[in-house]
Structure formats: structure tokens, C-alpha cells
């Protein structure tokens, strides 16, 4: 690891000011991806600004049909929050199965979304639930947020302060773990709203995406059989030492079906 400065920010504005002034500085929002990268000397930020102590980013609030999770809320806190469990149990369930216990205590929703690992769990939920990413300067719709692998709509010095989730009638997540990393080899989040179903798929392609065929089928019939009846094309899907594109394509409807079973179980 290269040497770096460590700073704690008490409010979002101060944290952003540091990054605006110093192009080589980065936010530290749990560090579960950033710190291992730094340990391998693959990243060399001059300074880390710890945003996990910013009080305004640590709240979870349920207001009518909107659930707001602060950017610095840990996965463990989301998983165990009574409001999340009541309003969006599928989201609490997802958070409770990210990584391992240690990762869930440190990692945060804002950190995960800003990093945008193509196999991370949260992006599938944010996309499927049509959430809004709230930053220090604007509001970004989920459909506009995820650009490509490790690439989001965020400016370099832009800080995710909260994520707003509309409440779904039903929502559930299922992932098939990569045998080595236990990241999602494929993960599928299904969300049923009054006016249709949205699906977010992670792990299978260079970025989280919405499979149109599956959304169309599930909007007509939100059932396991309906999910299993869909064929996903392997074109554009990842192929690597762990799985072929065909296998990933096969898993998407299978996992969508399981996600529906989970969604119906809450």
C-alpha cells in the first residue's frame, strides 16, 4: 500500500470540498473494495476522506411510499432495520447476504453503488426498484446511473448522500454465487409494482441491466413459470473461467423464478 492521508468528514459539503480541491483524493465509504485494491498497489489515492461518520448520511427513513437510506448506512444496518424489513423485505434480505459478516459491517450502500462492481448485489435492487440516487448536488434516476463496469454517472467529486426507494408490491433477490469469490455469478432482483415488473440482473454482463423479455413476461404474469418460460440470449453476457455466457443466460430465468419465490415468501 502506498502512503496516503486520512481525513474524517463531519458533513457532506466538507468531504466534497476535499475532493474538489484534490483530484487524487477519494471518498472512503467502508473501503471493502477500495482498500484491497490499495493494498495491491493498484490504486494510489493521495488522500481518503472517510464519509462514514457523516451523521446525515446514516439515517434510514420510511415516509409514506418512499424508503430513504443514507449513503453511509452499512449493509448490516440495512439488513437489520425494521423499516426496511417491513417496507422492502427483499432489500433487507439482499443486504443481509452481501459478502460476509465483516464486509456487511463495513461496506455501505453509497460505497457499493459508487464503485459499481459488475457483480455487486445492490445495483440490481436499485435498478429494479427504480430508485433515485441522491447526491450532494442532484438526483439521478437508477436508469441513468449505471453506465458500464465500474462506471457511473457520478462526477469524480460527487458524493452519494442517500438512495430513495419507491415501495414495490413484491420484491425479491436471488443470486448464484461464484464458487471462488462468492460474488454474484448471476444475481436477479425482481420488483413488482402496480404498473408493471422491473428486473435488475447483476454479475452476468459488463454492467447491471434490465432484461426486457423477462420484464415483459413477468409484467403479464408474475410467476415462477412465467420466468422460466423466458429465454435469455447469451449475446453480450460475460464468459470467463467460471461460467460461459450460455450458463449465465440459463441462470437468469432460473434465478428470476427463485427471486419471485422469495418475494412471495415475505
Amino acid at each position: 500500500m502506498y502512503s496516503f492521508d486520512y481525513q474524517k468528514a463531519d458533513e457532506a459539503k466538507a468531504a466534497v470540498a476535499v475532493l474538489s480541491a484534490n483530484g487524487d483524493a477519494k471518498f472512503l465509504a467502508g473501503g471493502q473494495s477500495l482498500l484491497p485494491t490499495m493494498r495491491l498497489r493498484l490504486a494510489q489515492p493521495s488522500a481518503l476522506v472517510d464519509v462514514t461518520r457523516i451523521a446525515s448520511m446514516k439515517n434510514v427513513t420510511l415516509d409514506g411510499d418512499k424508503l430513504t437510506i443514507g449513503g453511509a448506512v452499512s449493509h448490516a444496518a440495512v439488513a437489520s432495520n425494521a423499516d426496511v424489513q417491513r417496507a422492502l423485505p427483499g432489500l433487507a434480505d439482499l443486504a443481509g447476504r452481501i459478502g460476509d459478516r465483516q464486509v456487511r459491517e463495513r461496506g455501505t450502500i453509497g460505497g457499493s453503488l459508487a464503485n459499481d462492481d459488475p457483480a455487486a448485489c445492490y445495483p440490481s435492487a436499485v435498478l429494479a426498484l427504480n430508485a433515485t440516487v441522491v447526491t450532494d448536488r442532484r438526483r439521478i434516476a437508477a436508469d441513468d446511473f449505471f453506465i458500464d463496469m465500474y462506471t457511473t454517472a457520478l462526477e469524480p467529486d460527487e458524493l452519494i448522500t442517500a438512495v430513495e426507494f419507491p415501495l414495490a408490491e413484491r420484491a425479491g433477490y436471488e443470486k448464484f454465487r461464484n464458487p471462488a469469490s462468492h460474488f454474484a455469478l448471476v444475481g436477479v432482483f425482481v420488483a413488482k409494482f402496480k404498473d408493471g415488473v422491473r428486473v435488475g440482473v447483476t454479475g452476468a454482463a459488463s454492467s447491471v441491466f434490465r432484461p426486457a423479455e423477462l420484464e415483459a413476461a413477468l409484467s403479464k404474469d408474475f410467476s415462477v413459470a412465467s420466468a422460466r418460460g423466458v429465454t435469455i440470449s447469451p449475446n453480450e453476457l460475460n464468459a470467463d473461467m467460471h461460467a460461459s455466457a450460455e450458463y449465465r443466460a440459463h441462470l437468469i430465468p432460473v434465478l428470476a423464478g427463485r427471486a419471485i419465490e422469495r418475494a412471495m415468501s415475505f
Partner: protein, 793 residues
């Protein structure tokens, strides 16, 4: 004086003496050793699989803060530092010796694999060393690489070593080819399999580490190193590489966090640090990072095999023919040449009476990390060949795989196999029958139907393994090409108060010798186990011994200690006889008490110990004072642990995900000293064997030679959640006939026996779909692909 209660430490599950220090953070591993004026080394490693080193510019690096010195291959070559030796000479079928290309400590002309050492940077801190390392400029002229095992010797493949035609290290043959071919000519059925026994990365929890220092005071070196056999390390480094008398090099292998074979070998880093410690006049420490371990620890397995089994009309095995290509990697590691030969082909009889067996092994060089012994070392590969062949034959002939095994079991001992071993004893039916019972094989059909109702496929598979352990009779090993003896040494030093320190050449890196060996000694001398201390791992303290690998510690190391105890007892009896004014023949020794037979005249072990060191009343004219004996034990045969494993799996047809529902292991280890430790050894072995069967795979890019599975993100180590609750039982067993404790060894059994049981079970589950073969590891993706392809076919 009454005799104390008979102690029964042998056979008791005594809690491990060493665990207190490990669990309270008081273990002392190599990285815990900090010397005065400590400096730190890091290695610049090749980013290319095969390249000429055109130029190295170290100027900026040398001027980097904290740098003490930077050493490259040219520096060592200029000082007559030798290459690393290989400890086992194999001859090809044409009589020619194997190719032993140079194995430089630091590469100088060419780098031969990704991770090959290019420079050693020594600095005041690891960080400063790494900062400097990044400033070294190396110009490489990249060369095409040979990576794939099966095609490494094909015409036109790039040569790894210019001196080795076709990349072939040796072409070795074993067994009676003519008799085997004749058996196949008259066979009623032949089963053929193409097997890839995939490359594995050992991944001991403690990465390799070295802390080397040079003392001007007496012109000597002290090297702390995470190693399984410090005397072997010293001999190889002193005699073959640095040309030092052994007395000038002390090797200490302190607490070591797992080896699995990977810490047997003399590694280039060990030599480089030792040599450089004199250059810089400072102790140098290097601790491998995990990603470095992936690129530099000797890997395991990596065989590509075509195997055939011939059966007659009564389903008796009449012949076995095996052709294996074994990947040596870029250089010959310390014992690499012996693993796919003498530790492999000699085991191809398994538990069966197959009368004719012939094996050919072609060892090839590739631009990959060297391959050497890894838990089981050759024997898992052999067991996998035999047990996959047997079960595949049963499936093809539509007979019960248990019945086929029973029809071919060896039942008369001693039994001389056609591949050079003589099994002294065993009872294969007993283990198999007990395993069938424990695994409730009778209830399998019902469980399979229940799975089917859930839409899942259930299968059962077996493996009846044998291994040759207790390496090894030195003369046999020598005849097979070993360049070292394979005895073990032990010294029993009785102190004046009757407490005992035992010095052993065996080394514990997780096995629990400090407890097991103490149980043996305390039982034998009738003293409290707390009064027995086991010392290992320091050439400055222990006698010359060969260390721990091949499940040899209790059978060879324990036997050496037993021999030394014989001598202690004999001398102690003479001392007691003097004190009791009787003749030594009339003294009996039980439960720590010397007694004149048939009388109540006794002396305690403490009385005798004290008399030995305070010899006021002592027959000094006929006997030396003291009670301190050492012994060397060279076994007369290998030991042959065996067992029967049953694996039951459930396969999810939707995803190919396979769960092991039950795993039953019944092992015959002969006599067992500490059943708790033995059970733990079996658990660990099963974890590694199941890891190979279902998860682990070292993957190189075939064209570039880049290691694709270079971290735990891509190399799947078994998690606890991947493993079932094991049902493990040690059979009453057949004690080894030729060592004093009747022990056979247990360290590798689980890793040897389990992979074929798992794959046989999965293939049994998939058989209804028409799946006939599956390579390890049986990942969900592979299982699904096999199902998918079978359904399409």
C-alpha cells in the same frame, strides 16, 4: 512403593499441548521473529511467462529512500552460487537420465514463468523496498510460451529450456508392458478414461517466509524459514548451492502454519535471502504475500492421463494400462521428478489383484510455476485413476460397484503388487463393510426417490484407496533414484529429575506432534505427559533427520523415538540393577517403576534419572553417567493405510449445483495414538480432496501463460459451507507389521481417497441423463454443461 495407575495415553484423545500458545497468540512463526537491525526483502517477479532479460536498470531504485541493496541473477552467477538441485533422479525407458536444466536462484538470462524471480530488493522497510522495486526498469524480449500440459511436447512448441528437446524431462516406464498388453489382448471388456487431474495451488494459511542473517562473529548463517524439513533445507542449501559446511548454516523452522508439501522444498527465495544477508550485513526478512504465493509456491498435481482397465468375463481385473503426461512447470522443484513416477505408478494396483499393470509417464517442462508434492503427492492421482476406472467399469458392465470391488480385493498378505510394492497387511472388506453400514447405503434408493420428487438427482459413489506412506526404506528409495536417505532420527534426553526432552527430526506444522509424540514417550516411561517436551524444527538442536511429508512422522519419526526409548530403558535398567543390587536381567520396568522381579524392591524412574546425573552410587567403571540416547530408524517397508469412502450427492438440475449430502470415511491407520488428532487430520484431508473434486482449479491463459486464477477471487478454496458434516471412523484396523508402534500414518488419506468418491457420486447422479464423464472440479457450470450436452446429444 506401589506402581502408579497404568497410564493409557496411547489411544487417548489428549487435547493438543500446542494449542494453548496458538489460541492465545503466543505462537512464534517466522514473521514473528524480529532480529536486531532487521531489514526487509521483496522480490521483483517476471510479468511474462517466457522472455529474455535484455537490460536491467537499477539506478533510480538504488537511490530510492531506505534501500540497502538490490541483487540480480548476474550478481549471484558471478559468485559461483549454484543452481537449485533436484533430489530424485529418474531415468527414461531408454536408460538416459532425466534432463536437469539449470534452476538459478534469480533468473539472469531468461525468465521462464510469470512470477520468476528477477531481483531482490533489500530496504529498511517493506514499503521502501516495494517503492524501490517499482523503479527498477527491466527490458524484456518476450518469447512465445508453452503452457498446456498435454501439448507441451508437440512438435513446434516453444522450448522452455534450449537444452531440453521437445520439453520432455523424461519418459519413464513402470511395470511389465508385454504382460499388460497380453492381458488387454484377451480382455472381455476394456474400460477407457481420459482424465485431467487438474493443477492445484497449495495455499497454506501461513505464506512462505524467511528471515536470514549472517554473523561475522563465527562466519555463520541462521535462517528462520517456514519449512517442513529444516535439515533437508540446510543440506541442500549448504552443500549444493552455497558450498558451505553444514555447521555454518543453522535452519530453524519455528511454528509453521500448514505445509501440505509446499514447504518441503528448497526455494530460491530462501537461498537469495541467506546469500544476501552476508552482502548487506543485516538480517533480511521476506514474507510472501498471498498473490506472490500463487505465483511462487510449488503447485500440485497437473496430470493428463489416458487410463485403461481390462476385465475378463468374470469381471476380474486382468490388466491396467496408464499413460500420463505430468507437468513439471518451468524448473525441477526439489522432489518434482519423483511425484508422478515412484509415488504414483507404484500405487496403481490399489486394493486389487490386477496382475499386470504398465504405466508410462512423460514429464514435460512448461512456462508455469514448478509443480511438486502436494498433500498425497502422486497417490491421489493414482487413486483417482484406479477408482474412476473401477466405478466406470461397473457402470459400463451394469454391476454393483461394491460387488466389483469385492470380486477383486486383495485378501492375502503380504501381497506383492506388479508395480513394485509389497503390502504387509490390510483388511479391505472390513473398511468397506463398515462404510456401507455407516453411510446407510441400504437406504440410498429411498433417498434417491425422495430427491427425485423434489426434482433433484441423487447419486452415490465409492472410493477404496490405498497409499504408501512412511517414506521410506532408504535402500528402496535409493534404487528408485532418491538422492537422499529417508530414515528419521530421534533423541531422548532424560533430565536429572526424570523429566524428558525429545528431539525429533520430524516437523510439526499443524499435525500436533508435540502431543502425539509426548503421549508415546510418557506412556513408555510411565511419566506424566507434562514432563515430556518435544523439540523439533531447529538444526541447531535436533539430530539430522528428514522431516515431515508423506504421512511419515509417527511411523518413521515415532519409531526412531521408540528405538531411543529402548536404549534409555536398557541403560536405566542397568542403573536400577546397581541401585537395587540385582542383576539387570532381573529388573522389570512397568508404569515408571523398576522392580526386581518377584520382589517389592523398586526404584522409581526419578530415582534412576537422578542416579544417572549424580553418580555417587553408580557403576562408573562399567558405565558412563547420564541418560541420553539417540537413534536412527530406517523403515524396512512402506506403510499402507487404506480405507473406504462413500459420498452421496444431490444435484440441482436447474443450476448444476451439487451438494454433498453425506460423506463417510472409514480408514485403517493401524494403531492410533491420538484419535482426536487423527480425526482432525482426516477432516482436513477430506476438505482438500473435496476442494479438488468440486472447487479448486489453477488456470493459466494457454497462450500468454498468465495465471488467471491468481487470487481467492478466482481460485475457489473450500469454505466450511461447501462441506458436509463428515462421518469419520477409524477402523479397529490392522496394525502395521514392521514398525514398533504398529502405526501407518493418516495425514494424506482424506485428500487421496475423497476425489474419486465425489466424482463417482456425481456421475451416478447424472447417469440417468446419459452423462458418462466429468472432469474435476465439478463446478455447477461444468455439471450443468455436462447435463446440457447429454440432453442435446
Amino acid at each position: 512403593m506401589n506402581a502408579p495407575e497404568q497410564q493409557k495415553l496411547i489411544g487417548a484423545g489428549v487435547k493438543r499441548k500446542e494449542d494453548y500458545r496458538f489460541l492465545t497468540g503466543a505462537g512464534q512463526y517466522t514473521d514473528d521473529v524480529v532480529m536486531p537491525q532487521q531489514s526487509y526483502g521483496v522480490f521483483l517477479r517476471s510479468p511474462h511467462a517466457h522472455a529474455k532479460i535484455a537490460r536491467i536498470d537499477m539506478e533510480a531504485a538504488l537511490n530510492s529512500p531506505g534501500v540497502i541493496g538490490i541483487f540480480i541473477g548476474k550478481d549471484m552467477a558471478g559468485e559461483n552460487v549454484g543452481g537449485l538441485p533436484c533430489g530424485w533422479l529418474i531415468h527414461s525407458t531408454d536408460g538416459s537420465p532425466m534432463h536437469e536444466p539449470p534452476h538459478p536462484v534469480i533468473a539472469h538470462d531468461k525468465v521462464l514463468h510469470v512470477g520468476d524471480q528477477v531481483a531482490l530488493v533489500v530496504a529498511e522497510s517493506v514499503k521502501e523496498a516495494k517503492d524501490a522495486l517499482e523503479l527498477i526498469e527491466v527490458d524484456y524480449d518476450e518469447l512465445p510460451a508453452t503452457v498446456d500440459t498435454a501439448s507441451a511436447s508437440d512438435a513446434g512448441q516453444p522450448l522452455v529450456h534450449d537444452s531440453v528437446p521437445n520439453n520432455v524431462c523424461y519418459n519413464w516406464g513402470h511395470g511389465d508392458k508385454a504382460a499388460t498388453d497380453a492381458a488387454f489382448a484377451k480382455a472381455a471388456h476394456v474400460t477407457t478414461l481420459d482424465i485431467v487431474n487438474q493443477r492445484l495451488v497449495p495455499n497454506a494459511i501461513e505464506p512462505r517466509a524467511v528471515n536470514a542473517s549472517y554473523s561475522k562473529h563465527d562466519d555463520s548463517y541462521t535462517v528462520y524459514v517456514a519449512n517442513q524439513n529444516p535439515h533437508v533445507e540446510r543440506l541442500l542449501m549448504a552443500a549444493f548451492v552455497l558450498s558451505l559446511p553444514e555447521s555454518k548454516l543453522r535452519v530453524i523452522a519455528p511454528d509453521v502454519g500448514g505445509g501440505f508439501g509446499s514447504k518441503i522444498f528448497l526455494y530460491p527465495e530462501d537461498v537469495a535471502l541467506t546469500w544476501a544477508s552476508k552482502k548487506v550485513g543485516r538480517p533480511i526478512k521476506w514474507v510472501a504475500e498471498r498473490s506472490e504465493a500463487f505465483l511462487s509456491d510449488a503447485h500440485g498435481r497437473d496430470h493428463v492421463t489416458k487410463a485403461e482397465l481390462a476385465l475378463d468375463k468374470d469381471n476380474k481385473f486382468i490388466g491396467m494400462r496408464v499413460h500420463t503426461t505430468a507437468n513439471m512447470g518451468a524448473y525441477l522443484s526439489t522432489f518434482a521428478s519423483s511425484i508422478p513416477t515412484v509415488l504414483y505408478a507404484t500405487l496403481l494396483a490399489g486394493q486389487y489383484t490386477t496382475p499386470a499393470i504398465y504405466a508410462e509417464v512423460k514429464a514435460v517442462f512448461t512456462n508455469t510455476v514448478p509443480v511438486d508434492a502436494y498433500r498425497g503427492a502422486g497417490r491421489p492421482e493414482a487413486t483417482y485413476v484406479v477408482e474412476r476406472l473401477v466405478e466406470t467399469a461397473a457402470r459400463e458392465l451394469n454391476i454393483d460397484p461394491v460387488e466389483l470391488r469385492r470380486r477383486n480385493f486383495i485378501r492375502e498378505f503380504p501381497y506383492a503388487t506388479p508395480v513394485g510394492l509389497t503390502y504387509d497387511i490390510g483388511d479391505y472388506d472390513a473398511c468397506l463393510n463398515r462404510a456401507l453400514e455407516l453411510a446407510d447405503v441400504a437406504g440410498f434408493a429411498k433417498r434417491r426417490d425422495e430427491s427425485k420428487q423434489k426434482g433433484k438427482l441423487r447419486g452415490i459413489g465409492y472410493s477404496c484407496y490405498i497409499e504408501a506412506c512412511g517414506l521410506a526404506p532408504s535402500n528402496v528409495a535409493g534404487a528408485l533414484g532418491a538422492r537422499a536417505g529417508l530414515f528419521e532420527a530421534g533423541e531422548v534426553r532424560v533430565h536429572p529429575t526424570g523429566s524428558v526432552t525429545v528431539f525429533t527430526g520430524s516437523h510439526s506444522h499443524g499435525q500436533g506432534h508435540e502431543t502425539t509424540f509426548a503421549q508415546v514417550v510418557a506412556d513408555r516411561l510411565g511419566i506424566a505427559i507434562e514432563n515430556v517436551e518435544i523439540i523439533h524444527g531447529d538444526t541447531g538442536r535436533i539430530p539430522f533427520g528428514m522431516g515431515t511429508y508423506g504421512s511419515r512422522s509417527i511411523s518413521v519419526g515415532g519409531s526412531a523415538i521408540m528405538k531411543a526409548l529402548d536404549k534409555v530403558e536398557a541403560k536405566a535398567k542397568k542403573i536400577a540393577a546397581h541401585l537395587l543390587e540385582a542383576s539387570a536381567e532381573d529388573i522389570e520396568f512397568t508404569n515408571g517403576v523398576f522392580r526386581v522381579k518377584g520382589t517389592d524392591r523398586t526404584k522409581s524412574f526419578v530415582d534412576v534419572s537422578l542416579a544417572a546425573y549424580v553418580p555417587h552410587n553408580f557403576p562408573l567403571e562399567t558405565m558412563e553417567p547420564g541418560l541420553n540416547e539417540n537413534a536412527f530408524y530406517d523403515p524396512t517397508n512402506f506403510t499402507y493405510p487404506s480405507g473406504a469412502y462413500v459420498c452421496e450427492v444431490e444435484v440441482d438440475q436447474d443450476t448444476g449445483e451439487t451438494r454433498i449430502e453425506k460423506f463417510t470415511a472409514v480408514d485403517d491407520f493401524g494403531n492410533v495414538i491420538n484419535p482426536m488428532i487423527v480425526e482432525g487430520q482426516v477432516h482436513g484431508g477430506l476438505g482438500q480432496g473435496i476442494g479438488q473434486a468440486m472447487l479448486e482449479r489453477c488456470v493459466y491463459d494457454d497462450s500468454t501463460g498468465q495465471l488467471l486464477s491468481g487470487s481467492f477471487m478466482d481460485y475457489a478454496m473450500p469454505h466450511a459451507s461447501d462441506l458436509p458434516n463428515f462421518t469419520v471412523e477409524t477402523a479397529k484396523g490392522t496394525p502395521c507389521t514392521h514398525n514398533p508402534l504398529g502405526v501407518k500414518g493418516c495425514g494424506e488419506a482424506g485428500a487421496i481417497g475423497s476425489p474419486p468418491a465425489v466424482i463417482n457420486a456425481i456421475l451416478d447422479a447424472l447417469a440417468p441423463l446419459g452423462v458418462k464423464d466429468l472432469q474435476m472440479p465439478a463446478t455447477p457450470h461444468r455439471v450443468w454443461t455436462a447435463m446440457h450436452n447429454a440432453q442435446r446429444a
